[in-house]
Subunit: 246 residues, 6 copies
Amino acid sequence: MRIKVINGNTFVPMTENIGEVARSVAASGTEVVHATPKAGPISIESFYDEYLAIPYILESIIEDEANFDAFVIACWGDPGIEAAREITRKPVVGIAEASMYVANMLGAKFGVVTVLDRAHNLIEHTVNKVGLMPRCASIQCTSLSVIETEELRDHACLVLEGAGRKAIAEGAEVLALGCAGMSGLDIMLEQRLGVPVVDSVAAAIKMAEALVALGKTTSKIKTFARPEPKEIRGYPAHMQSSTFPE
Amino acid sequence: MRIKVINGNTFVPMTENIGEVARSVAASGTEVVHATPKAGPISIESFYDEYLAIPYILESIIEDEANFDAFVIACWGDPGIEAAREITRKPVVGIAEASMYVANMLGAKFGVVTVLDRAHNLIEHTVNKVGLMPRCASIQCTSLSVIETEELRDHACLVLEGAGRKAIAEGAEVLALGCAGMSGLDIMLEQRLGVPVVDSVAAAIKMAEALVALGKTTSKIKTFARPEPKEIRGYPAHMQSSTFPE
Amino acid sequence: MRIKVINGNTFVPMTENIGEVARSVAASGTEVVHATPKAGPISIESFYDEYLAIPYILESIIEDEANFDAFVIACWGDPGIEAAREITRKPVVGIAEASMYVANMLGAKFGVVTVLDRAHNLIEHTVNKVGLMPRCASIQCTSLSVIETEELRDHACLVLEGAGRKAIAEGAEVLALGCAGMSGLDIMLEQRLGVPVVDSVAAAIKMAEALVALGKTTSKIKTFARPEPKEIRGYPAHMQSSTFPE
Amino acid sequence: MRIKVINGNTFVPMTENIGEVARSVAASGTEVVHATPKAGPISIESFYDEYLAIPYILESIIEDEANFDAFVIACWGDPGIEAAREITRKPVVGIAEASMYVANMLGAKFGVVTVLDRAHNLIEHTVNKVGLMPRCASIQCTSLSVIETEELRDHACLVLEGAGRKAIAEGAEVLALGCAGMSGLDIMLEQRLGVPVVDSVAAAIKMAEALVALGKTTSKIKTFARPEPKEIRGYPAHMQSSTFPE
Amino acid sequence: MRIKVINGNTFVPMTENIGEVARSVAASGTEVVHATPKAGPISIESFYDEYLAIPYILESIIEDEANFDAFVIACWGDPGIEAAREITRKPVVGIAEASMYVANMLGAKFGVVTVLDRAHNLIEHTVNKVGLMPRCASIQCTSLSVIETEELRDHACLVLEGAGRKAIAEGAEVLALGCAGMSGLDIMLEQRLGVPVVDSVAAAIKMAEALVALGKTTSKIKTFARPEPKEIRGYPAHMQSSTFPE
Amino acid sequence: MRIKVINGNTFVPMTENIGEVARSVAASGTEVVHATPKAGPISIESFYDEYLAIPYILESIIEDEANFDAFVIACWGDPGIEAAREITRKPVVGIAEASMYVANMLGAKFGVVTVLDRAHNLIEHTVNKVGLMPRCASIQCTSLSVIETEELRDHACLVLEGAGRKAIAEGAEVLALGCAGMSGLDIMLEQRLGVPVVDSVAAAIKMAEALVALGKTTSKIKTFARPEPKEIRGYPAHMQSSTFPE
């Protein structure tokens, strides 16, 4: 089984961390390839960042559609995932949804700890998109930028510990790490906080493996049907919807 | 007062219709300029279309940020509107939200009539984004493509009449036209259906005028603060967030 | 265009302030007439006050139904607005709904700052009636009576500043002034709080102008159809539903 | 124990039916007095009717506040009930809420069968006010006017049977009769439909008896505190809030 | 009228307190019999406790189905109530639902004060099951075990007073005592807190009396129909569904 | 890795089918053991059945707590799952939740097809418990008993095909098989319906494997903490909570 895990941003050290964590949990028969989009912001913290990143995340799926069994979008807004499901039948998993499903099986209510305060509504929007707001007890934003989660690991861990305590005080019994850059910090946080902490990238790899093993593919009857073939001006030939598989 | 109304897609006849309707309702002191994004799909019917359109919708705002008092995004998913509000303080209005506010003042429950069945979840997502699902009685998709709403006016009107009757049967007392391409069909549909029908482009122009007249600008304290300056690879200089106004 | 703006209570200095603010934002071709109901409480702070005020608010519309193009109900519970929409086809706008639509276009979540603590459920009920609870981050009541908002402007401003800070701490990015008596305080509060503050009366005037300019009238197919003609004992001839326009 | 049951409208035959049903279920020690408001519409079918009825429903409580142990408002919108709870500490029960509590104890989901189609949103608003929408499977309006429920009993029963079947098809397992005029039709409908049918007036009498027997009175700390004393122009002395008990 | 009130747990002093409170509010013609299940946990604080208690609560109904007019389940999770409604047509009332209906008639929002923090989600689940979450302002757990509510009355009262103040601060205007063991503490708490406090056992007795007096029985058309006859291994003959009344 | 999959009922042929399906999707290193509870109903179709089944489902976990890495409860109400999570730290997965997570990754809205009409509220309750009602488009009950799903496979398939078409018409894009007895019918239904159909038992095995591979265990800080040690009368020694692992 081959899974392509795509970093949402273009910060290469983060892609490498994502790849490392992904491979550390992949089953023996799973080959995980990590990828950085060809263009886009070096971190995703605003809606602007997210929207500029999406075309290149989608391109990363399109150009490898035939070469993998499943795709993982490694950014905690699951950016572009609805479109990703339109352009291929193969399973596409977002790290946000995956982390929420795993968290939902471990505690009565979950919390999300994440980056800058400005992302609060983006995170809330993501929980609503997945549909699990009834089980979400707390969303805790912090002072951390995405880059800092990657480059200042000790500092990030300390800040997330504080955010975790706040989430627990608001009713969370399990935490999801709300940024791909936090991958790998779960164990240390579990030890400090005494609750399960879900590494979102790791969770997504297991969800993707599950879908492939079950032989399931994306529904093509309505929302995620192949986009109608049409001219898409200014985009390269391989991104024209007429070239996509039915 | 100068308002730039931006078609979400790149189908020029639709842009012209949008401009015409917009000018027909604009106040005497309002100058409306219509615009087609430099690139993107010729119609927006899928999430894929929408996500590829957004960077160019945003670019259309960025390059004219200093030249207008408000911006209208003329596509019934209000594509990219959160990002648009990040990149300027000036009011940005989506035709979806505007049509729902107007409809909400005219009936106890509103309905939306729109294009292809595949767009149902996209439309539902838009109503939820605006927050007015508690007042939405019905979303009716049809067999119409976006292009057909523009090129086959009589046919479109007939199909929308049928969709309107279904929405009314489900409790709608007023209808919003859920596609910019339907602009100008409101009067004919009102005559046939006996309920108010809201032209979404027209509604948005009046909302934009209202915001400018009230002297209000977008909140910059959290979600819609200027995006953090950072490298955005592969995008031109004027789209780098470091160049945006605070 | 002629708009009648009706104070919900019978406190004449408040009606005059409402009229002044309304005229200050009205378009050049709009004539705004302000009115005090013939009877009713001098302020609306309880459900009791509200229910005793409503028949006279409605009478103020009935007696001028033919003379105006639109009506604004200037009290932040939008008292009697459903009935107002039954007794005329002409647009009726409530200041609560108008302020929420405007706020919704300026921030990701809005807050309401208002009068006495006892009004909390009345305000919450109003937000639910409009349908925008999913976008409301905070309702902040204060120690202010309605009369004080009018007569102790500096004190009111100070108290509202404190309430605004609490609303912002709970996630509001834009504020609606939840009482007609607060009209005119928006600019000062914006300067102190750094977020947009919506003057509800001003917002309603622009919404009413928009509806008239769009040529839209209230739906008459179901909820807001003309009340069935019947005897209404104890009410004057002009308030008998048999005398209303179809 | 003395309970005053107040018809919402001024149609005396309906008041008498209400009184008869109320007495038929009252406990042996309960004295039930039925009352028609001094003024107001002869039936309540629109918001306009409801708002004109409320001041006189409240007056009926005010003038007898000292003489009864509890009050029942016998109209299925529970008109003015929040205000009624402000003006007395004694329990006030609405027939809508009472019927929903009883129905909720008899089936997994309840339905409401009621009068004219135009009342649909008013009924929905009432269910939301009580808070039980999560358990409401269906609201079925009919061609029946309020007066017809009283004067054309056989016809009303036939129409309600049809409405009941529709509600059952939509998931209702128990029905509430959504108009005081339908009081007394429950048994016949139960026999025809095979599900429990709740007479709303009867239910309210038992709820009022329960509250009195439990010695409970309305909370006076916030929403239902006595209205602030103030001038209420045009209303008689006994309706001035300064005269109400603390 | 005969009502059987069944303690959810097997702690006999608590059953006796329940019986005492129940009889103190019962009408003169009502005979209340209190009962302890034959087996099960001595207190219900976890889901595990609750699930082990349910078969014996149900047995207590089954073995006396013919001998009573109504049944009350006296534990604030209303454990097994859906099944109880399947095995008899006679009314079954849970103390949780009853206390919420009563509270809902006394204040604009209610709060629940209850035992251990671990029960928070169980209590929340109960409020959702009844359907009244829209009216619930606060759920306050404490350090109290179920047994302590019974054996350390003064301490329990003090702890509940603190919890009540927190609930009031969060918007509750009336409180429900969220454990049968708290029965009898309502008056003292009312005096200390100044808001109505609902004794859940007392409330349930009055609701059961009401249902019997109204002559209503549980709907048998769908959810609460008699369980399909089938072999239930390991359970005694009288618990086999084939022996239940239609 | 060792997973124990526990049939909710005591119908042995169904347990064997469950075991077979479970093993067919298990990873190479996973040992799956299937088990039938020692007692309980031979099928679960009512709340009564479910509540009598739960103690024995829990016992099946308790007696093997030390011998497995994870447990799967194979009945589509996830009966007793909250209690199961209290009595062990090891992951417990319900087939209902697992099938919904998988379905949620394959379509914009999912539907559930299941057994007898009486189960509708039980199924709805389960979707709410998991938290995914916002993504559930349809619940379709049928004439099938649980036993028939197992013994009349062709008939069951035909009936489920019809139910699936109804769910699709109501907006479902992917289906979850809402009964463990339907395990193995997914492929045939996919071929007939053209949408992905999720075998709930298969989904749960993959979710359990994922949790074990991720090294995650149930949160023990609040809701799912070990039940307080106490006497549980009438239950055997190994079911006393004092014997459970911390």
